[in-house]
């Protein structure tokens, strides 16, 4: 580091002291005012930052990034019945959406049929209700599964929904090896942050490694897991915690798969990640860059992966739902545009943009259109996608990338000391860290230290927002009718036999459950019946909350 830069910096700092005496700086700013070459020290460009498509992937996972093609514009959607959601999917594809992303309702996510008493009030609310293969056939009606890639936000019953997808494709004449898509399948963050768990950790990890193994042989282009920081961030974590806890989860999955006898390079290339694009644009860009570097080192150095594909952290992104405000909802369009810019400059592989009205209800078709157009404007008009990793070399962004990476390693080491992510979650450590950050954020907003426009500053008198999307309450009754009719017409002996086979398989840890689940699905056994068998054998997870 040249001495003249340090000397010039000192000279600048002394002039600043005088300026501050006259014009004090705003409170609560980041501790450092300015970044210079001094902050990067002797960082080696080639080994620490490197080139796009090359280890350690700080600058992105592909050699040309968006110069070849843009990220996948993948809008998360689904509500009410399969018929309604199918219409929304075809609308999105017709308007330039480039992949599907299915939202399932809570009974589906927790493995209950729509007619279960516990499903009352929830059917079709936060996503589409899927009770059996019959619903799934309707959901993808007139959508060619050999052409579209589909992401499914499904975790505890991921194997069942994946089996249904494979079965629908088969009926369309599309073989499993042609299918492209992702299942979320990340149970650890369900325990830590999102809440749609069913089974305890051990059988859950078995189901996940069964999927890794099955897909590596039969559905090779499928992303078998989307290891998700998104919900950890939504639950209140910081940027560093988001990537640290998620990569710690990723380490746990890799260890479980290796313990089950899989070779790291057989599954690691199909692991994918899911980040949040939050409000602080430059911090987010640095987070994306740091996360790629950490994962590359984990895979190469810790697990000894040899295939460069195993080292790459490929990521889907969603803009931060928790940063949307119910107040002056049109302001959310601007927030989402900035978050989109962050995700793109961070180098995401696909993106969902939230709609302005989502702090109030599910989005209307019109709001979704604005959200999709936001991505298209960033892609085609802003220039942000024209040069690879455009913020590299910014003293601030590089220093922040280093700082976030360092903080992430500190957490990962701490979690290793606790015995890994599963142990750290069972001890409540990760949950407590997230809760503490969430509480700190809320108090900062309430004290005015953190300004949220329209919420704690610049408020106006507002009229209730009109024209919100309302899910028809008759969905529950409709699904019940469909279930009754299905149970009349299906071959009940075949259903019973498939469920008995599945139960026997669950009891034998050496069995891969995917083929058995696929057989059960094809008999039109319901999601609730299949998960019911697994509940019976595996039991259910019980959360313990320390406030």
């Amino acid at each position: 580091m040249s001495e003249n830069i340090k000397a010039a910096l000192e000279a600048y700092t002394s002039t600043v002291e005088k300026a501050i005496a006259k014009f004090p700086e705003r409170p609560n700013l980041p501790e450092q005012r300015l970044y210079t070459p001094v902050d990067l020290g002797d960082q080696d460009y080639v080994s620490e930052i490197g080139f796009p498509g090359q280890y350690p992937f700080t600058r992105g996972v592909q050699p040309t990034m968006y110069r070849g093609r843009f990220w996948t514009m993948r809008m998360y959607a689904g509500f009410s019945t399969a018929e309604e959601s199918n219409k929304r999917y075809r609308y999105l594809l017709a308007n330039g959406g480039s992949g599907l992303s299915c939202a399932f309702d809570l009974p589906t996510q927790i493995g209950y049929d729509s007619d279960d008493a516990i499903s009352a009030g929830e059917v079709g609310k936060v996503g589409v209700a899927i009770d059996s293969l019959a619903d799934m056939e309707i959901l993808f009606d007139q959508i060619d599964l050999s052409k579209v890639s589909t992401s499914m936000t499904i975790n505890a019953p991921a194997s069942v929904l994946l089996a249904m997808y494979i079965a629908v494709a088969e009926k369309q004449g599309v073989s499993a090896d042609k299918l492209k898509g992702t299942i979320q399948n990340d149970i650890l963050k369900e325990y830590a942050a999102r809440g749609t768990y069913i089974f305890p950790p051990k059988p859950s990890m078995r189901l996940i490694t069964n999927i890794f193994e099955y897909c590596s042989k039969n559905v090779p282009n499928w992303n078998t897991i989307s290891i998700s920081g998104y919900h950890i961030r939504e639950a209140g974590s910081t940027a560093s915690q988001e990537i640290a806890f998620t990569i710690a989860d990723g380490i746990a999955y890799a260890e479980a798969a290796i313990k089950a006898g899989l070779d790291v390079d057989a599954f690691a290339g199909r692991l994918s990640f899911f980040w949040n694009a939050h409000n602080n644009v430059l911090e987010e860009v640095a987070k994306f860059r740091a996360s790629r570097r950490v994962w590359a080192k984990v895979m190469k150095e810790r697990f000894g992966a040899k295939n460069p594909k195993s080292w790459m952290l490929r990521v889907h992104t969603q803009t931060a739902g928790s940063m949307l405000t119910a107040q002056q909802p049109n302001n959310n369009i601007v927030r989402v545009a900035l978050q989109t810019a962050a995700a793109v400059m961070g180098g995401t592989q696909s993106l969902h943009t939230n709609s302005r009205d989502e702090a109030l209800a599910l989005p209307t078709e019109e709001s979704v259109m604005v959200a999709l157009r936001t991505q298209q404007i960033v892609a085609y008009e802003s220039g942000l996608a024209d040069v690879i990793d455009p913020l590299a070399g910014s003293y601030y962004v590089e220093a922040l990338t280093n700082k976030i990476e360092k903080e992430a390693w500190e957490y990962i080491n701490k979690i290793d000391e606790l015995g890994g992510a599963v142990e750290a979650i069972e001890k409540g450590y990760i949950q407590k860290e997230i809760q503490d950050s969430a509480y700190k954020w809320q108090m900062a907003v309430e004290s005015g230290e953190k300004v949220i426009v329209g919420v704690n500053k610049f408020q106006v008198e507002e009229k209730p927002v009109e024209g919100l999307l309302k899910v028809d309450d008759s969905v529950g009754a409709l699904q019940k009718k469909k279930l009754d009719a299905l149970k009349e017409r299906r071959d009940s002996a075949a259903v019973a036999a498939a469920l008995a086979n599945l139960e026997a398989g669950c009891k034998d840890e050496s069995v891969n459950l995917m083929p058995l689940i696929l057989e059960a699905v094809k008999t039109y056994a319901t999601l609730g019946e299949i998960c019911g068998v697994m509940r019976k054998v595996f039991g259910e997870y019980e959360a313990h909350v320390n406030l």
């Binding site: 809570l106 009974p107 996510q109 927790i110 209950y112 516990i118 499903s119 009352a120 009030g121 929830e122 609310k125 936060v126 369900e190 999102r194 809440g195 749609t196 939504e234 639950a235 209140g236 928790s322 405000t325 119910a326 107040q327 702090a359 109030l360 209800a361 599910l362 809760q435 969430a438 509480y439 809320q442 907003v445 309430e446 949220i452 919420v455 704690n456 209730p464 927002v465 919100l468 899910v471 309450d473 959360a543 909350v545 406030l547």
Partner: protein, 129 residues
């Protein structure tokens, strides 16, 4: 010493989003209330029973899934049926303004929507218990 106000913070239904419930629970505790948090996936019956067993003054429910029109009124009815006439019942979450009059009609004393400072909830409880 005056008896402290006891609050049950509850998550009815299948919704797993409990950032708000936990932040509110902690803020109420810091404000001097005794707070019990039910955890996720409570049926209306379980919530009413917990309110009875814990002898609370307030039940504060949170739903972000849109199931509030179905579930909130059921909890109110069960609590009243169990003879807890004076328990203050409040709700919060992703709840459109248009749904609030019906919820109040059903016996939810107040509905707190996104952006509400926790101090407002503390104040409401202090003024209405």
């Amino acid at each position: 010493m005056e008896k402290r106000i006891r609050v049950l913070v509850a998550k009815p239904g299948l919704d797993g989003h409990d950032r708000g419930a936990k932040v509110v629970a902690r803020a109420l505790r810091d404000a001097g209330f005794e707070v019990i948090y039910t955890g996720l996936r409570q049926t209306p019956e379980q919530i009413a029973e917990a309110a009875l067993q814990e002898d609370v003054n307030v039940v504060a429910m949170s739903i972000l899934s849109g199931a509030h029109p179905q579930l909130f009124p059921v909890v109110v009815n069960l609590i009243r049926e169990k003879g807890m006439k004076d328990v203050l019942i409040i709700g919060g979450g992703v709840i459109p303004d248009g749904d609030i009059p019906a919820l109040k009609e059903a016996g939810i004393a107040e509905v707190f929507t996104p952006g509400t400072p926790t101090g407002d909830i503390v104040k409401f409880i202090n003024e209405n218990v």
